[in-house]
């Protein structure tokens, strides 16, 4: 799955100190639930992203446990309070052990 999974994030380039900004994070992933069967009636094994985290300057913003009911290409939108300039770090954990990462910096205007 690793080769097909591509993270995308949207973070404002700058914010005023103490401002609450909206962050959007999406990753392309088929999110196979483990409930479906293929044409021959065999169960298709579960293969999902099971955890997503976002940190700002080492401090956790969100930590999401994801279960099989979440649809393909999971998309999270959440708010974060920005006190100082720094870097958002996004991490997705795949069932198969792969970890996908993305970072985005933000300035204080």
């Amino acid at each position: 799955m690793a080769s097909d999974s591509k993270p995308r994030v949207k973070v404002p380039k700058s914010a005023s100190a103490g401002e609450v900004v909206t962050i959007k994070a999406l990753i392309s992933h088929k999110m196979e639930s483990g409930q479906r069967k293929d044409a021959d009636g065999n169960l298709i094994p579960r293969s999902i992203i099971n955890r997503f985290t976002c940190d700002l300057n080492g401090q956790n913003v969100v930590d999401v446990a994801i279960d099989p009911a979440v649809s393909t290409n999971p998309y999270f939108e959440f708010d974060a309070k920005v006190d100082a300039a720094g870097e958002f770090k996004f991490t997705w954990y795949d069932d198969d052990g792969d970890v996908y990462e993305d970072t985005q910096s933000i300035e204080i205007a």
């Binding site: 097909d4 591509k6 995308r8 949207k10 959007k24 999406l26 392309s28 649809s71 393909t72 290409n73």
Partner: protein, 288 residues
């Protein structure tokens, strides 16, 4: 008592008429897309091209016929689910997948070298005199230059690449040639457009010209413009190319369809594209 019922009936009837009126026409709205490079306004409504002046005054992108939520998805590149597929196309563009390690990039550099191409496709190839849709050009690269097995015309690899190349011409005005060498193909496409097919005996024109703006069961009929293709279809949670949509439309008339990439559907693609001369390429659109 009786009077109350009559009033209620009248009110209900009025409600139905109003609801009908609200649905009858495309929505007046403006598409401004929030892109990585700032805002981009897309021409989604234009005066009809000369060859259509007899049948309609204005051409509308299918975007105007969709609900608010669906239209909004296209206003922001991040919210547009089709971008995932264009991104995937870019990965494949750079991948050394050819028999001798060729990639798209090794011949064509970046995809931006194809800026403007989507707006003039389909077109007649100068060397061979054949009508080419974008899939034909991609396929000839894949099989002849890269030495690979042909890609499925409506397969994921093909549609990802269509999405990537189409994105390079986003905002440019569709202007396919319908004269000169293209004319016989265009005439053929026009004939097919007005030919009734299938058990339901419906031509393209019956829905998309005679009844555009009306409801066909739960669907709001558009003009069938293809300036937005390839499009992310919410129903399929995936990309749909114009060729695929033609198969779907003809199938819905309960006919045996032509194949995607057949001469018939290529001619139809040229003709339908020419009905949208004046609208902007939407890159990758979102429809339901």
């Amino acid at each position: 008592m009786r009077r109350t019922i009559t009033t209620q009936l009248a009110a209900t009837a009025l409600g139905l008429i109003l609801a009908g009126a609200a649905w009858a026409d495309p929505v007046e709205d403006t598409l401004v897309i929030d892109t990585d490079d700032g805002e981009l306004e897309i021409v989604t409504k234009a005066p009809a091209p000369d060859h259509l002046k007899d049948v309609m005054d204005t051409i509308w992108s299918g975007w105007h016929y969709r609900e608010d939520e669906t239209r909004d998805l296209q206003r922001d590149d991040f919210d547009n689910p089709a971008m995932v597929f264009a991104d995937r196309g870019l990965d494949r563009w750079n991948a050394e997948i050819g028999a001798n390690g060729e990639s798209c990039a090794s011949c064509h550099q970046g995809p931006e070298t194809f800026k403007g191409l989507r707006a003039v496709m389909p077109r007649v190839d100068e060397k061979t005199g054949k009508l080419m849709i974008m899939e034909d050009y991609i396929q000839s690269c894949v099989t002849e230059r890269m030495g690979l097995e042909p890609w499925k015309v409506t397969g994921d690899e093909m549609k990802d690449m269509l999405a990537l190349i189409s994105m390079q011409s986003r905002g440019e005005i569709v202007n396919v040639a319908i004269d000169g060498p293209a004319q016989p193909f265009w005439e053929k496409g026009k004939e097919l457009y007005y030919t009734r097919f299938g058990q339901l005996e419906m031509a393209c024109a019956n829905c998309h010209e005679d009844n555009q703006g009306m409801m066909i069961r739960a669907d709001h009929l558009s003009q069938g413009q293809i300036n937005g293709f390839p499009t992310y279809r919410l129903k399929d949670a995936g990309m749909v190319s114009a060729q695929q949509r033609f198969v779907g439309c003809v199938r819905d008339t309960r006919a045996e369809t032509f194949a995607a990439g057949s001469d018939e559907f290529k001619a139809i693609e040229l003709y339908v594209a020419s009905r949208g001369n004046g609208l902007a390429v939407e890159g990758v659109s979102v429809r339901h």
